[in-house]
Each structure stands twice: as structure tokens, then as C-alpha cells.
């Protein structure tokens, strides 16, 4: 198997993560968003595993395992459970129409390619492309956070952003395992905290819509 084919496969998997990011923006139902997120995490695990294979870096298998177990299985299931428990309205409420969001997403991808490719002119081709993809995923995650009104979708946006970071981390050679593990754990901790807060907020205010929560802010005069 030559360098070209391994490069192509890495590229394909990275692009899959990115496409999943776009899909996240397109979904109109909450459960579909969660499923898409699980798919993205799966693709991420595959990317990490493939990088472990071609970089001969066995610790990346650990990363892949973490991504698979936590992000592709535990987090989506937990969010599913939360949504059911809390009886959250199952539509995704957008602050910006989906068409415009997609176009903004495309523009962001173009921006990151324009940005990353010249900067990393000296680096290996594989790293360059992967970094551009990873950055696009990060920006799409951010875009999701700002164009969705529901707290659960914001959490998913945040997790997608994390996926982008991990994609960048696995593509660059020599990223220590400790960093990836700590990133993964921080995501898990964040997830737990979000869950607890959802319950607390829900108990207190009987809603998870951000617009309703705004009225409870202490600093508003």
C-alpha cells in the first residue's frame, strides 16, 4: 500500500468528519442531530485509528478508543436520555435559516483552506490538508453554537468543535497522548456538568429555551 493511497484514505475520513459537520447544521430534529453527532465521532475515531496505522503511533489507538466509547456512544446516549427525561421539544430552533447557515459554513471552509494552506507551506501534504479540514470542523462547531437557540444543540455544537480539535491533534505528528486524553476527559466533564445543569435549570425554571432563561439573569436591570 503506497503513500498515495494512505493519504487518500486519511483525506477521505477527514472529509467525512467535515461532511458530518455540515450535516449537523442541516438537521431539523433533535434526535437526528444527536445521531449525526454520533456518526461524526465515529468518523473521528476512524480517522484517529487510520492515523495510528500510518504514523505507526500506537497511542493514537487509545485516542480512537476514547473517541469511539465516549463521543460516539456514551455522549449521544446520555443526551438522548436527557432529552427524553426532560421532555424537551424535539424540533431544532434556528436563529438563522438553514440555507444561509450552510452558505456561511461553506464560506468558513473556504476561509480555513485559504488560511491554512499558505501558512503550512513547508509541512507535509497530509498535515496541511488535515489541518484545513480540522479548522473547518472547529469553525462549523462554533457556527452551530451561535445559530441554534436550544441548549442541547449548543452542547452538541461544542462537542463538534472538540471533534475538530482532536482531528487536528491526531493529524499532526508527535502530539502527546496526554493532551488527547485530557481533552477527551474535559469533554466528558463538560458533558456531565451540562447534564446536571440541565436538570437544575429545568427544576427551577421549567424550560430549556435560552430566550426564556434570559429573563432570569441577575444583572439585567
Amino acid at each position: 500500500m503506497g503513500a498515495q493511497i494512505s493519504y487518500d484514505i486519511a483525506h477521505l475520513i477527514g472529509a467525512t468528519v467535515l461532511m458530518a459537520g455540515f450535516q449537523l447544521l442541516y438537521q431539523r430534529r433533535l434526535f437526528a442531530v444527536l445521531n449525526t453527532f454520533a456518526f461524526q465521532a465515529l468518523a473521528l475515531a476512524a480517522a484517529a485509528a487510520w492515523q495510528a496505522n500510518i504514523q505507526h503511533a500506537p497511542h493514537l489507538y487509545v485516542t480512537a478508543g476514547i473517541a469511539l466509547v465516549f463521543k460516539a456512544i456514551i455522549v449521544p446516549i446520555a443526551l438522548h436520555w436527557l432529552v427524553e427525561q426532560l421532555g424537551i421539544h424535539k424540533n431544532v430552533e434556528t436563529a438563522m435559516s438553514i440555507g444561509w447557515t450552510m452558505m456561511a459554513g461553506v464560506a468558513l471552509v473556504a476561509l480555513s483552506i485559504l488560511l491554512v494552506l499558505p501558512v503550512t507551506a513547508g509541512a507535509a501534504a497530509l498535515t496541511r490538508e488535515s489541518l484545513a479540514l480540522a479548522m473547518s470542523v472547529v469553525l462549523l462547531g462554533l457556527l452551530m453554537m451561535i445559530t441554534r437557540r436550544n441548549a442541547v444543540t449548543q452542547v452538541v455544537g461544542f462537542m463538534a468543535l472538540e471533534n475538530g480539535l482532536i482531528l487536528a491533534a491526531v493529524s499532526a505528528k508527535g502530539m502527546p497522548l496526554v493532551v488527547e486524553i485530557s481533552v477527551a476527559f474535559s469533554v466528558l466533564v463538560a458533558m456531565t456538568l451540562f447534564g446536571i445543569f440541565f436538570f437544575r435549570i429545568r427544576e427551577r425554571f421549567d424550560t430549556l429555551e435560552l430566550a426564556d432563561l434570559e429573563t432570569h439573569r441577575g444583572d439585567r436591570q
Binding site: L111, L114, L115, L139, L142, L143, I146, Q154, D219, Q221
Partner: protein, 669 residues
């Protein structure tokens, strides 16, 4: 050595000042020690001035920033200002020995007073920009604390706030100014700055920033707004120092930067500074005439005198920039002479005002009157101060203003047409300011000290403690002495001026002692010494003649009652009535002064009132405008406080994308 010991003593005194407690003798002890330290510093300064011109040894102390030691040096200019500062601080400290027991809360004043003295002296001997600014801030903050001494009064809190804002602005300007002079390598020591050459733009900015930074401390119009607020708010001996001395330290900073560190200031800047000085002088004295509060009046008069001194400095820059070094030296000597004089008579007047407030509890001119009878020491001393500040011969104020006029008369010899026409205009402004200053102090002295008491408090005024009387007497004597030996003073000042203008110069060169002949022996000459001797001689002769020829028989007659039989004190001329003609002539346009009569309706038995409305154009136009602008921006920014989480994220996201775009665009170029 002496200076270092005195400065450390001042720092130690500040610590002791904290521990004074309620017992008054401890406060008195601190003031006494402050006076001794000031006298030591004064002696150090005079000793250095007496030596041949040159700079003292540089002292490097391992304090301050880790990569930069602290540099100190005493040269002629610092020594002169050290004399100016410490003469007044010694007097004010001596005054404080008696005055501290009359303060409402002496514990709020005593600890900061030595710090204030320390700060002013440290500015003078600093030899690098860092120490200069640290000392400058030391001076500003300690005086700010002193302004806040009577913090329960809302007016004082407002004054302290305005002062703090202006002090921050000034230091910011000076910081930037020194930063520009230090250049890219960060050469912050003064010798390195002297050696560095400034290019056109940074040379321009350095002068502008120095003018803004030092000018805001000195009280140049339109940066004077804090002076009339802060100076009256502080206890009187501190206001005397803030007005009489701290403004001089600011001018020291200006002279140090413009004549010494910068070196090659364009003549056009001299013209600008001169015009600013002229406007400051005229506006300052017009403000002063309108005031009813004695201390406010004095603070505005300080603005006027700073303007007069700055005219001299600006003229010196214009001459120096045009290559007329001798004339530059003359103008600078005149400016420095006025600085010395003002520090004495303004300290004298503020200390007298403090005595008046102690004795009567009033500082409103409308409630004073007849004080010279009940407080003869202060009455005579304030009269001497008023004569000096009105620039009447033979006292010191006349000499310096005369010298400034003499150098102004040489202005048309400058090659630039702007100066040929501009200098006479500034001369006219100076003449107007001098005349109005005389009117202002005739009013201040006449209303406060002469006539009949206008209130019960003034009628029951009592003598103040002996230390407060002795200090004003001492300062009054100094006014006479400085006027009587002008040649000695100008010779000492020309030592100071020589390194700054690069020319050896003596004002008395043509006719010799005791005659001042600044331009030439035929153009104009003056001798304070001869005048004083003649005056004293004439007085003695008159007294003798009166003794010899007059009769000693006792005669009785009614005192002249000014045309009022059975008059009540309220029927006297008041401060307002004295100011009215000047207000109508000069202030109708500048201050939009209007008078209106508030007539009660028929059947209403309240008295009719004459109301005067005066609008301060600079406060309303400039400061209030800036205040509104800040409020507007604050309102805009305030909205950001209440966004939703999503909008905050949006802002972060937009910033990120914008920055990425900038990077992308810059790369593609």
C-alpha cells in the same frame, strides 16, 4: 549627602506621621522636622547654586526596575528649583506647626505632607525618566490625598476626582513623551536622551506631549480646570504649596524637556507657547476677578502667573530657535525670576488666606472686611504680597514682569513676520493681565482686610498662633529682599540659564551692579536696590520732618465716614460691586456674563435681587463636552452587558473570523 539625608528624613517622617495619633504635640513635631528637612534641602540647593556652573555628581541607586538602576543628579536647574520649592515648604511647614491644631482632622494631613515634600524634591533630582515619573506620581497622589483631607464635603470629593483625572492625563502625556524620547532602545536616562536626535514627527510630538503633560499640572488654559477646584479644597498650607510650588515643579518638567532633553525645539513652538501663556494670563486673571471665594481667587491668580512665566519660556524658545541666544537667555532669566517670585508671594497669600479662615471661619469675601485691624501682622504681610503680585516697584513682582517686557520688546528683531507681529500682541495681553491683576488684588485686599467687618465672624476675628504670623512676615520680607537685590538674583539665574541656552550672559553687564540693563544701557535700566534705598531714605526724611515741624498738640475731629452717616457695614463697596465694571467690560462676551434683576410681584414682601450669571466657556465647552462623549460611549458599551449567551458567542466568533480574514489577506499579499 545633605540632600539625601533630608530626603530620607522626609520619608521617615511620613511613617511617623501615621503614628501621630490625636496628640497635637506629635503633629507639631512632624511639622518642625519637615521644616528642618526643608531648610537642609534649601541649604543644599543654595550651596550648589553658589558653586561654579556645572552638574553635580550622578548618584546611581539600585532601586526601581530590575534592569534599570535609579539615577539622580543635581544640576543648576534642579538646584534653582530646589531653592524655590524648599523656601516655600520651609515656610509652609513652619506655618503648619501652629496651623495643624486648627484643622478638622489633622491625622488626615500629617502623614501625607512629608510625602508630598519628598515627591516634589525627588522630581527635581531625578536623572532618568522612570524616576522622574515615579516621583511625579508620588507628588500627584500625595497631593490628591491632601485634597481629600476634608472628604466629607461633596465639593472636595468632586475636586479630588477632577484633579485625579487631570493628573492621570498629564502623566500619561509625559509617559508617552519620554517614551518617544527614549526611542526604540528604551534609553531612559536623561544623558542618553540628551544625546539622542529626534526626527521631525517625534520631535513635534515630544513638544506637544510635554506641553500637555506639564501644562496640565501647571494650569495652562484650557487644562487649568482642576486648579481652582483642588487648591481651595486642601488645607491652606497645602494649597500654598500646591499653588505656589507644585505648579513650579511642573514648569521645571517643561523647561527640563524643552530646553535640556529635547534641545532643538522649533521657533514656531515658542510662538505657540507664548500665545498659550498670554491667553492663560488674561483668562486666569479675568476668572480671578469674578471670584468671591478668597482661595479660588488665589488659585485663578496662580493660573495667571503661570501664564506670565510661560510667556517668558515661550519667548526664550522662539529666540533660541532663531539663533538669538543672548535674548533667549534674557527671556529665560525673566521667566525663571517670575517663577521664583510667584512661589513666594503666592505662598504668602495662601498662608494669609489660611490665617483669615482660621480667624474667622469664612473665605467668602462678602463676609470679611476690616481684618487688618484685628490681625495686623497678616494685614501688613498681605499688603506687601498684594503689591508684589500686582507688579508694583520696588518689590520683586515688578522686576520679573519688567524683564519679561524687556525681552518682549526685542521680539520684533526676530526674522519671522509671524513673530514680529505676534510678540506685540502677546505684550498687550501681558500688559492687560498685569493691570487686571493689580485690580484683582486691590479688590481682594481691600474687601478682605480694609473697610468694616461685613459679618459677625469677621468682627470677632482673633490673632492666629505666632508661627503662622512669623511665616507670613518672613515671606513678606523675602518679597522686599528679592525686589531689592535684583542683580544678585539675575546673576544666579544666568548661571542656571547658561547650560540651557549655551551662552554666557549677565543682565547687569552694561551698567554693572546694582543696575539691570537687559538690552542696552540706553534702552532701559532699573535698580531695585537704589529704589528701595531711596524709598527708605525718603520715608525717614518725611518722618523726621513730620516730627520736627509737626505739632504734638492733641486734636480731636470726626473720622471721615466716606459720606455715610450711621452707615451699616452692608452699605460698603462689596467684592461684587468692585468686580462689576470689569465684568461688564471684559466678561460679557468671554463668560457670557449677564445681570438680571429679580423683582418680587406686587404684594410680595421679599427683597428684590440682582442676579449675575457667568458661564465658564472652557468648562461648558470642553470638559462638559468630553464628559458627554464619555457618557455616550459608556452607554453604547453598556448594552454589551445585557446580551444573550448566543450573541456573546456570536461576537467571539465574528472576532475570530475577522482576525482569520486579516491573516488570510495579509498572506495573499
Amino acid at each position: 549627602m545633605l540632600i539625601a539625608a533630608a530626603l530620607s528624613a522626609l520619608l521617615a517622617l511620613a511613617v511617623l506621621g501615621v503614628a501621630t495619633g490625636a496628640e497635637m504635640w506629635r503633629h507639631r513635631l512632624v511639622y518642625l522636622c519637615c521644616m528642618i528637612a526643608s531648610l537642609a534641602l534649601l541649604a543644599g540647593g543654595i550651596k550648589h547654586l553658589g558653586q561654579t556652573p556645572g552638574t553635580g555628581p550622578a548618584i546611581i541607586l539600585p532601586i526601581g526596575l530590575p534592569w534599570m538602576a535609579a539615577h539622580f543628579r543635581l544640576d543648576n536647574l534642579s538646584a534653582l528649583f530646589m531653592v524655590v520649592v524648599n523656601l516655600a515648604t520651609a515656610a509652609a511647614s513652619a506655618y503648619g506647626i501652629g496651623y495643624c491644631s486648627h484643622l478638622p482632622e489633622p491625622r488626615r494631613v500629617t502623614p501625607f505632607y512629608p510625602l508630598f515634600l519628598f515627591g516634589m524634591n525627588a522630581v527635581l533630582i531625578a536623572d532618568d525618566a522612570f524616576m522622574f515619573l515615579v516621583a511625579w506620581e508620588f507628588m500627584s497622589l500625595s497631593s490628591w490625598l491632601l485634597v481629600l483631607a476634608d472628604h466629607k464635603n461633596a465639593e472636595n470629593r468632586h475636586a479630588a476626582f477632577v484633579y485625579l483625572v487631570m493628573a492621570c492625563f498629564g502623566t500619561f502625556c509625559l509617559l508617552t513623551c519620554f517614551g518617544l524620547m527614549a526611542g526604540g532602545e528604551g534609553a531612559y536616562s536623561f544623558p542618553a536622551m540628551r544625546a539622542a536626535k529626534l526626527d521631525g514627527v517625534s520631535g513635534f510630538l515630544v513638544v506637544l506631549l510635554a506641553l500637555l503633560g506639564a501644562g496640565s499640572k501647571a494650569g495652562l488654559v484650557p487644562l487649568h480646570a482642576w486648579l481652582p477646584l483642588a487648591h481651595p479644597a486642601a488645607p491652606s498650607h497645602v494649597s500654598a504649596l500646591m499653588s505656589g510650588v507644585m505648579t513650579k515643579v511642573a514648569l521645571y518638567g517643561l523647561i527640563r524637556i524643552l530646553f535640556d532633553l529635547h534641545g532643538e525645539v522649533n521657533w514656531a513652538w515658542g510662538a505657540v507657547i507664548m500665545v498659550v501663556g498670554g491667553i492663560t494670563a488674561v483668562l486666569g486673571v479675568l476668572y480671578a476677578i469674578l471670584q468671591d471665594d478668597l482661595k479660588k481667587l488665589l488659585a485663578y491668580s496662580t493660573v495667571e502667573n503661570i501664564g506670565v512665566a510661560v510667556i517668558g519660556l515661550g519667548l526664550a524658545i522662539a529666540f533660541k530657535g532663531s539663533g538669538e541666544k543672548t535674548l533667549a537667555a534674557l527671556a529665560l532669566v525673566a521667566g525663571l525670576y517670575h517663577i521664583v517670585n510667584h512661589s513666594i508671594f503666592k505662598t504668602l497669600w495662601f498662608l494669609s488666606a489660611g490665617a483669615v479662615i482660621t480667624a474667622t471661619g469664612e473665605r467668602d469675601l462678602g463676609k470679611l472686611g476690616g481684618l487688618t485691624k484685628r490681625m495686623p501682622w497678616n494685614g501688613v504681610a498681605a499688603l506687601v504680597g498684594a503689591i508684589a503680585i500686582s507688579a508694583l516697584p520696588p518689590l520683586n513682582g515688578f522686576v520679573s514682569e519688567w524683564l519679561i517686557f524687556q525681552s518682549l520688546f526685542k521680539g520684533p528683531s526676530l526674522p519671522h513676520w509671524a513673530m514680529k507681529f505676534g510678540v506685540p500682541v502677546v505684550g498687550a495681553m501681558l500688559a492687560l493681565a498685569a493691570a487686571l491683576a493689580a485690580a484683582c488684588f486691590v479688590r481682594a485686599y481691600g474687601i478682605a482686610f480694609l473697610g468694616r467687618p461685613r459679618s459677625r465672624a469677621a468682627a470677632e476675628a482673633h490673632q492666629v498662633p505666632v508661627s503662622m504670623r512669623l511665616t507670613v512676615a518672613f515671606l513678606a520680607v523675602m518679597c522686599v529682599v528679592l525686589g531689592a537685590i535684583p542683580v544678585t538674583i539675575t546673576d544666579a539665574l544666568s548661571h542656571v540659564v547658561t547650560p540651557l541656552t549655551g551662552v554666557q550672559f549677565a543682565v547687569s553687564a552694561d551698567l554693572g551692579w546694582p543696575w539691570l540693563s537687559p538690552v542696552s544701557s540706553t534702552r532701559g535700566s532699573y535698580s531695585g536696590t537704589v529704589l528701595v534705598m531711596t524709598g527708605v531714605g525718603l520715608c525717614i526724611i518725611t518722618l523726621l520732618l513730620a516730627r520736627l515741624l509737626g505739632t504734638s498738640r492733641l486734636r480731636r475731629a470726626d473720622a471721615w465716614d466716606c459720606g455715610h452717616k450711621e452707615s451699616i457695614p452692608q452699605s460698603q463697596y462689596t467684592g461684587q460691586s468692585f468686580a462689576q465694571p470689569l465684568r461688564r467690560v471684559f466678561c460679557a462676551s468671554i463668560f457670557a456674563a449677564r445681570e438680571s434683576v429679580d423683582m418680587p410681584d406686587p404684594g410680595d414682601n421679599r427683597p428684590a435681587e440682582l442676579k449675575v450669571r457667568v458661564i465658564d466657556p472652557i468648562w461648558v465647552g470642553l470638559y462638559a463636552g468630553i464628559g458627554r462623549g464619555v457618557d455616550f460611549i459608556a452607554d453604547l458599551v453598556n448594552r454589551i452587558q445585557y446580551l444573550t449567551v448566543r450573541r456573546y458567542l456570536l461576537m467571539m466568533f465574528a472576532t475570530l473570523v475577522l482576525m482569520l480574514l486579516v491573516v488570510a489577506v495579509r498572506q495573499s499579499q
